[in-house]
């Protein structure tokens, strides 16, 4: 077999020199989305999410039939579950972003392209967020089944989308930061899941957090707990959306600081290995 490499056509060569195509972050995000959804990883996570959500919805609706749970509480419970697990899935995917590339040996080929490191990390965050949006879409019919009769469907969906998106952006960014700090994918994913469990734990206490200023500070400092507390305040206690807006400060700050850290520290984070002084 004789192999011959010919230079590309002049037009293609000019485009290659100019680099006028779509922005790098867009190409990376598109490819990452394709990898996530066509490799089956995203679909498996989505399937597991639907199974869990079905089980939770079934349990809450049967409890509701036995009058153990108010219908508003059922909606709140299912929505909180959907947000927490959707954010967890986003975190798992983002935790694979940098360390996964290093482990698979594909990082160097990405680093030698002219795409800015910042664009690479932004593209990866966008792709991870698609998983959150997909889980949210899946949860809509479940919330509809439980909430249609009490007139809180629109509110529940708007709340779930806003709070969940803030948490997904914030924790997805933190997942990528953890991933950048790890050479091993297992370490990165384990650390990210542990972080979410720590943040999610206070919401799972049988009677919530104890009363007192210390626990109030603890609740408000935790983006997951305070975000979910905001959902509860509106859905269960019937507060107006402005009344407990302070609960959203931490999720909002987490999203801004997390995404900001990614964008500004991106060039230092996307390296061949953790700690190597890369260009």
């Amino acid at each position: 077999m004789t192999l011959r490499v010919a230079p590309p056509a002049l037009g293609v060569r000019q485009e290659l020199r100019a680099g006028n195509g779509q922005p790098g972050w867009f190409v990376v995000a598109e490819q990452e989305c394709r990898d996530l959804w066509t490799s089956g990883r995203g679909l498996i996570l989505l399937f597991l999410f639907s199974v869990l959500l079905s089980a939770v919805t079934y349990l809450t609706s049967t409890n509701q039939a036995l009058n153990f749970l108010e219908q508003r509480e059922s909606v709140n419970l299912v929505l909180q579950f959907a947000v927490a697990v959707g954010v967890l899935a986003t975190l798992v995917v983002s935790a694979d972003g940098i360390s996964g590339e290093r482990e698979r040996g594909t990082m160097e080929t990405l680093l030698v392209t002219p795409v800015a490191r910042r664009s690479i990390i932004i593209g990866k965050l966008i792709a991870a967020l698609t998983l959150w949006f997909a889980t949210f879409l899946i949860s809509i019919p479940y919330v509809w089944v439980l909430g249609r009769e009490v007139g809180i469907l629109g509110l529940a969906l708007a709340l779930g989308f806003c709070v969940g998106t803030l948490l997904a952006v914030g924790l997805g960014s933190i997942g990528l930061l953890i991933s950048a700090a790890c050479n091993s994918n297992k370490t990165s994913i384990a650390a990210s899941i542990l972080l979410l469990l720590i943040l999610f734990a206070p919401t799972q206490l049988p009677s919530g957090l104890p009363q007192g200023w210390f626990f109030e500070v603890l609740l408000r400092a935790n983006p997951v707990a305070s975000g979910l507390a905001y959902i509860s305040a509106l859905l269960v206690e019937g507060h107006s959306w402005t009344q407990d807006l302070s609960y959203l400060i931490t999720p909002l700050l987490t999203a801004i600081i997390g995404a900001g850290a990614l964008i500004f520290a991106g060039p230092q984070l996307v390296r061949l290995t953790r700690g190597v002084n890369a260009g």
Binding site: T2, V5, V12, L16, N20, G21, S39, G279
Partner: protein, 323 residues
């Protein structure tokens, strides 16, 4: 006029207290295939990573295709790289993989599709472009990696151990592609490899690194000459003619003939010292001896020159540096 496309000046890289590359300087010109040689841990991969802006040097300067080391994005736009032990996304097809990289260099979808088809054909993968990379053999993956390194029509191509783990046929295919890269355009190829006979065949220039330092650089002939190697050869003749061959060769001044133990049909011919044969170059004595053997009607079954190969120079240079 030759244009220098790769120039490294006093390039240094430390990982903590460990010096991976120390004051490395060399250059390569347009259309040249430069072999970057050295034992494991010599600093070849680190040098390539410095020149491709993956790592930042602690000292020194370099330029690629006229771009200084500070212009990292411009350098990345004009280099193609096949990293050592490069990984591949196994669920993607070869065509998808190349299209992605073509788009990262600024091509639109249709241009990227056209270019990926051309490159797949150029590396002999046109029939397998729609198959998942997970189904590719190691040789096919290496060829795909080379195609990816060529996706931006690079001015300089860095190939780090492109033949590692390939069978002889796979190695030959990869070397064939490397030759065609240079003959098709004006690219410079920097080739890091352990296949020294192949380097002798295809490289116009060689840089030997050891323990992070350049121990010798120049053309293959210059590098062999720098090593100051004692020239010798192995001559195999039919067993019943060994004694006659020995008699013929003994008449030549400057040649020493020895029987190789355990191999009665093999003679070792050594040039005693450079320039001892009445002022003539030492290889002249060897050539004259060989001509006399054939003139005497002794069939030469094998004649292999020792000490005048790149591998001998390589071993000598790297072992001297260790000592």
């Amino acid at each position: 006029m030759t244009t220098i496309t790769v120039e490294a000046v006093e390039l240094t890289k430390h990982f903590g207290v460990h010096g991976a590359v120390e004051n490395v300087s060399f250059s390569a010109s347009q259309g040249e295939i430069m072999g970057l040689l050295g034992p494991n841990g010599a600093g070849k991969t680190t040098t390539i990573r410095l020149l491709t802006t993956v790592l930042k040097p602690n000292g020194g300067e370099f330029s690629i295709a006229g771009h200084p080391s500070t212009a990292a994005t411009e350098i990345r736009r004009c280099v193609g790289v096949l990293p050592e032990s490069s990984g591949y996304p196994s669920h993607q097809t070869g065509a998808e993989y190349l299209r992605f990289f073509a788009r990262l260099y600024g091509l639109n979808r249709s241009q990227a599709r056209g270019l990926s088809d051309e490159l797949l054909a150029a590396v002999g993968l046109e029939q397998r472009g729609r198959s998942r990379i997970s189904t590719y053999s190691r040789g096919m993956r290496q060829r795909l990696g080379i195609a990816r390194a060529l996706v931006n029509d690079p001015a300089v191509v860095f190939l780090d151990e492109p033949t590692l783990g390939l069978d002889p046929a796979g190695q030959a295919q990869v070397l064939d592609i490397i030759r065609s890269v240079v003959s098709a355009g004006d690219a410079t190829v920097v080739l890091s490899t352990h296949l020294l006979p192949e380097v002798e065949q295809i490289c116009s220039k060689v840089v030997i690194l050891n323990r992070g330092r350049v121990v010798v650089s120049g053309s293959v002939g210059e590098v062999i000459g720098t090593a100051v190697i004692e020239h010798s050869a192995h001559l195999r003749v039919p067993l019943h003619l060994v004694e006659r061959a020995r008699q013929v060769l003994t008449n030549f001044p400057g040649l020493t003939i020895d029987q190789i133990e355990g191999q009665p049909d093999l003679l070792r011919i050594a040039i005693e010292a450079p320039g001892t044969a009445s002022g003539a170059p030492p290889t002249d004595a060897m050539n004259a001896g060989l001509a006399a053997i054939t003139a005497a009607g002794i069939p030469v079954l094998r004649f292999e020159l020792e000490g005048a190969r790149l591998s001998d120079a390589f071993l000598k240079m790297t072992s001297e540096a260790v000592a």
